[in-house]
Subunit: 421 residues, 2 copies
């Protein structure tokens, strides 16, 4: 007998499954309120789908192998390549904007650490076909409304937003050559995770002068649109992006999520393919990894699927989010106990109990009963142990007694059209 | 760009996903009405978990490989070994009977043919800890109530039931040596799929006389408990099983599914591990493969998990069931269109439209609106194309008009606590 699940993989016993179901239902509920529709793809895909987007280096993190037909395949480490393939295949037939979501289980062969397993479930929400910041606001609102629906507040979770095009324009205004921008992005991406002196040295090593280094470090601190306008508003590229961002923040306020969002130019999102507004959601105390990350990737569908459509999306995993909810006492579980336990006074009445159970079930209720004849007291004990709220007792005179297992209160009932009345 | 999904794997575009969601929701709903609770395990497991149960020959049908830690692993081809492992790990702590279900996606590298893909979703319902036929009746009732909930009738689907212990007792009564029984089971298992003469020859080749061969062939025809009692009722082993089966059919009638079930001793279920009552569900016209199969496997938990508990279960896949439902015009889809489309007369009112969308969404409704400013007529056209039933029009004077997109009917409404009144 194998000893257990593989390292990094989870068994979901009913209690854990009920918590997972609570999370996934909330994801789906909120995504649907925003008029996103669900899709799914295969958990196993051609390896090329991932190397095409991320290069050969990703193979080291994949569950990849050669199948019995000689195909190079991999368990999906992320959903975006599948999404791009599916959208590209039917790009002309799909109503725009495409508003799709999915809840795939994803797989990575990673060193195990807190908040990182080798599989997780990840909500993916993507929107294709709209280049305006209205779409960026709509997308971030989905993420915020999810954490709100889970009982978290703007004091628990903050959305940190940046804009790669704004940052690029600001770097231009500071005299950073276009070709150096990616390297500067790389330093900013890590600026929170290393001593500031190291970041300064790295920027200086890129050939930037003291003034530019100071200004870049300043941009990664507390900034506001007003401050940026005052400092850089005369640069046309910057002014244009600031105007878009002002509209963006206005839309977020209109959608009711403005209070959750901070402008934070430190947010770069490591992956190279983002082209515009990017965001991450974090717990406000900074105890956990990012809960969610995403942004605009206007060129990715072209490069992956040959279809030139603007697009944006985010991913939100179940592991870090679950840790945060548990820490805050907010992890709930879908209810799994039955509605009724049918009990019987006389073992000879098992058949009558089954008839009643069958009728109540066809009426929509969840019903359990003792499969082996037992004394009534033991049946009621089993019902209470199962967490069932009410027992229906079939008495020897065939009368039906509805008994609350919490209060012990009893009343006579009758079965009418699959319900107890 | 990879051209598409791997052969035998499905992309679920929103329409297909909505049909899958309809099936899976029905599975879950009915399983819950029978007080089964959901669990799940990893899609990737140690290879040994499967070879332990099915022998090395199963490897030829698996997606198996060596992971980056040198472990022999496989995508799960079935759920029972994972179920057995999980139950065995917590056998003492679990409330008995264990009533669990799961809806895993399963993977087999098989030659492709009708009704057979390389992945499918399969409802698994298992019950552990009860050896009486009450449990067998409860289990089959779940399967029948699912197909009933999907709109099928007892004229569309038949449950065919046999009992391996009865068959063994009957073979004993016919003088078949104990050691020959598995070989005879093998012939009976195939008797429908080959010319009867071949089956007769195979039985004769096992050393059975003409009378025994005739009797066995007779048993695989139309039989009834009454007929069996008349012919074999004096054999104590047979009489005991017939008494149990009579109770079993009585319980099925009490649970309201008796009319769906036929005694059919041809049902063997190829897999070797079944020990008692076995069953399959078929479409009544015999056009499709089995919709569902299962039975009692009282020794499997012992051999797989070292825990001596009686158990029984069934599996029901989404592929054949989906084909049957489509053929009968009964495949439905979960509704995915939004409830409201918020439209605006003046592009300057986009912010007000977003506020309304945000409020309605927080009130629980699903809402879409045009992310790019458009003329009102185009917005309403987009709403109709999206299948949204009603538009809420924000007029220039800020009044809200609720318009049915089917009838064109309009009325003035107000927003109160996230709802339109």
């Amino acid at each position: 007998m194998a000893k257990g699940a593989l390292p990094g993989f989870r068994d979901f016993y009913p209690q854990e499954l009920a918590e997972r179901a609570y999370l996934l239902r909330t994801w789906r509920d909120v995504a649907r309120r925003f008029a996103f529709v669900e899709y799914d793809g295969p958990p196993l895909e051609p390896l090329e789908l991932y190397t095409r987007k991320s290069g050969e280096e990703i193979v080291g993190q994949l569950y990849n192998f050669v199948d019995k037909g000689g195909r190079e395949v991999a368990l999906r480490p992320e959903m975006t390549p599948t999404f791009a393939r599916m959208v590209a295949d039917k790009a002309n037939a799909l109503r725009k904007p495409v508003r799709w979501f999915s809840v795939p289980q994803l797989f990575r062969y990673e060193r195990q650490q807190k908040g990182r397993l080798r599989e997780h479930f990840q909500l993916n929400v993507d929107l294709v076909g709209e280049s305006d910041v209205t779409a960026d606001a709509e997308l971030l609102a989905v993420a915020v409304e999810i954490v709100r629906a889970l009982g978290l507040t703007q004091n628990d979770v903050r959305a940190r937003v940046s804009d790669r095009r704004l940052l690029r324009a600001l770097l231009g205004a500071l005299g950073v050559p276009e070709g150096q921008a990616p390297a500067v992005f790389g330093v900013i991406d890590k600026i929170e995770r290393q001593p500031l002196e190291i970041s300064r040295e790295k920027l200086a090593a890129l050939g930037l002068g003291q003034a530019a280094v100071d200004a870049i470090v300043g941009l990664t601190g507390r900034v506001s649109l007003e401050r940026l306008r005052a400092d850089y508003g005369t640069v046309p590229d910057v002014a244009e992006r600031l105007a878009d961002l002002e509209r963006y923040f206005g839309y977020l306020r209109a959608l009711g999520v403005g209070e959750w969002v901070d402008l934070d130019l430190k947010i770069v999102r490591g992956l190279a393919y983002y082209t515009g507004i990017v965001f991450e959601l974090f717990d406000a105390h900074g105890e956990f990894r990012a809960i969610c990350g995403g942004g605009r990737y206007d060129t990715l569908l072209e490069s992956l699927g040959g279809v030139d459509l603007p697009a944006l999306g985010f991913g939100m995993g179940d592991v870090v989010l679950g840790e945060l909810l548990r820490k805050r006492g907010l992890m709930h579980a879908e209810r799994s106990a039955a509605d009724y336990w049918v009990a019987y006074s006389d073992p000879a009445q098992l058949g009558q109990a089954m008839e009643l159970a069958g009728a109540l079930r066809r009426g929509g209720a969840s019903v359990e009963y003792a499969l082996k004849a037992q004394q009534l007291g033991r049946q009621l004990k089993a019902a209470a142990a199962a967490g069932v709220p009410e027992a229906v007792i079939v008495r020897e005179d065939h009368a039906l007694i509805l008994k609350s297992l919490a209060s012990g209160e009893e009343r006579t009932v009758r079965l009418r059209e699959g319900r107890l009345v």
